[in-house]
Symmetry: C2
Subunit: 413 residues, 2 copies
Amino acid sequence: MSSKISPLAPKSYAKLPPIEGLRIATAEAGIKYKGRTDLLVMLFAEATEIAGVFTRSKCPSAAVDFCRANLAGGKARALVVNSGNANAFTGRKGRESTRITAEAAARAAGCSEAEVFLASTGVIGEPLDAGRFAHLLGDMAVSARPDRWPDAGTAIMTTDTFPKYATATVELGGVAVTINGIAKGAGMIAPDMATMLSFVATDAPIAAPVLQSLLSAGTAKSFNAVTVDSDTSTSDTLLLFATGAAARRGAERVVDAGDARLAPFKRALNRVLHSLALQVVRDGEGARKQIEVTVTGAKSSRSAKRVALSIANSPLVKTAIAGEDANWGRVVMAVGKAGEPAERDLLSIWFGDTRVAHQGERDPDYSEAATSAYMKNEEIAIRADLGLGNGKATVWTCDLTKEYVEINGDYRS
Amino acid sequence: MSSKISPLAPKSYAKLPPIEGLRIATAEAGIKYKGRTDLLVMLFAEATEIAGVFTRSKCPSAAVDFCRANLAGGKARALVVNSGNANAFTGRKGRESTRITAEAAARAAGCSEAEVFLASTGVIGEPLDAGRFAHLLGDMAVSARPDRWPDAGTAIMTTDTFPKYATATVELGGVAVTINGIAKGAGMIAPDMATMLSFVATDAPIAAPVLQSLLSAGTAKSFNAVTVDSDTSTSDTLLLFATGAAARRGAERVVDAGDARLAPFKRALNRVLHSLALQVVRDGEGARKQIEVTVTGAKSSRSAKRVALSIANSPLVKTAIAGEDANWGRVVMAVGKAGEPAERDLLSIWFGDTRVAHQGERDPDYSEAATSAYMKNEEIAIRADLGLGNGKATVWTCDLTKEYVEINGDYRS
């Protein structure tokens, strides 16, 4: 938790209403940080259903292994999240730590260990001593309350400079349901599954397989379309909980992903995921600008996304934008190196509404002054049209500043 | 050309002897830089043979297009290189510029345009006005001398802080032959062909197809095994010239790549290429440390190289080393994200001679103090053993510092 808040932080935080069937508690366990909360517990009503997506890293954290195993059951009663230690690359000790935490959480929540979900974020490779916090879970379960979403957002922060919240209320079959979400990000952010940690909950009664299909689809254009530094975390975890409490207010349970009543819910969920993912970018380590990269005219949307990520992950593009330099030659470079079909002499590039390059050379009408003025903005949009097909993709990133280097040059010590 | 010289610059520069059949001239053409040379001409004796490798960018520069077309002929009489403007993404104007330059160079050298080779380095997207320097080529051809290798190295610099030279003398069939090379690098350096510009010459009489096979093989473990920032240039060009002048001293012409007499020459050429590539890394923008990344125990050497590059290109690994932090958890992350076969619980990691992680967790015998002391070194070696097979690869990179961001935040302006 840095003392300097990102200039891209929201002017005011979203107010998250309680979700029926869900209670929250946080605590200061002193795992690594002092004088701040670093432990979050969420408790869910019986029959709460769950979906999740995880890092594709070949070296996943112990908590990710644990969640993957439990996800098949589709039911959740407790979530325990700690910040300050990722419990990743901790071998047998890591598995022992998840076992102790899950046992304590199951006892506290009065459920089976198969209904417990865990997430850890922080330093990789340090054993996580569950003894530091397992004994706190019982009291936390007693004191947990539905109105503690703001506390939940801050307890999971690491190098984040602001907590990330999003909420939406929408009708499901004529009944109002709520979707709340929190996230943490900052560094080691690359789009190969949910970015670090995010937890989303709803009172809508939706069966786990339907939740999973909504979540997997929604991730592609939100968390999997953002990148801070191209470095995929060992711990990426995005969980979606549905307490089903709205059923008591007449909402019928949805058990089919093709159910027409889902459409507004799906759109609202996607808005929440998109908002959280963008907040992660806007709190990218050292970020001062948000960058939206759109690639059009690619051979396929898969190809478009690869080219967009090549641009978004290019250190030279990101430093140019940090320097407010409309250096579109570096966008050409990033298109060229992506390894995807591209034809130099069909390529056009825009910064905002200004077309700076067209069909393989500088646009003759391009105004350097207008483009330079545009680069002063906090939000920069880059578009590259490849002129080859109909493939299209948008990804989001932030600029690369000296502060990123500073933050990461002494994070562990 | 920065005023602050890299702390990794060589203590003294290699002294390059003349190569018979090769003359050099440089000039101040004022293309972009003032008060320094920015134009290099090399003139080669008749029957000089040539080999080359180029960027794999889909958006290659006009000079790269030009060289590729001429390479098939296998003969070279003139090389013209300018710094300050890459003549890349310049469309029809770019082709016009190479045409004018080649015409002037052919006239100056008394050769055909098919025997002229061109390279340009600098800003992308600005038209290169050949009228600024084409008229200088005639006088340069007259004044060119064999002993001007030091001038050649400085004329091609952009953000380089030191010129890059390498030389070797070796016997070929009982006759001493020389190999000289120069290179320029600094940023937009990623291993997908020669890194920006490098020119190597020898007086050995070796046929173009043999030269090409030596060069392609030598590139894999030199220029294609270094990365500064993962950004592949539009202009990467590595040319190898053989004047054949040593034939007059009794060296027999080599026309078969399997010729046993080639072995010492091949080793010497590889040493020259390796030295130049390492100098490029050591002059990486903002570099303060050289990093050698070795991956062993991979399923294949191709897989090992991909994992090694994932480590070498990770901003989090590079910033940790800039901060002298033995943050091996980030090496775990980079192995995990590489998309190659890896098993967390078989993975071991070394910093220098210290094994910091073993079989999926922190090495119990690992001394933080010893490792921290090691991180103060100027040259850092990281090894990751995947424990899966016999695949092995080594790549080289530099750390990521605030100076990299500074240099690239205002390069164009």
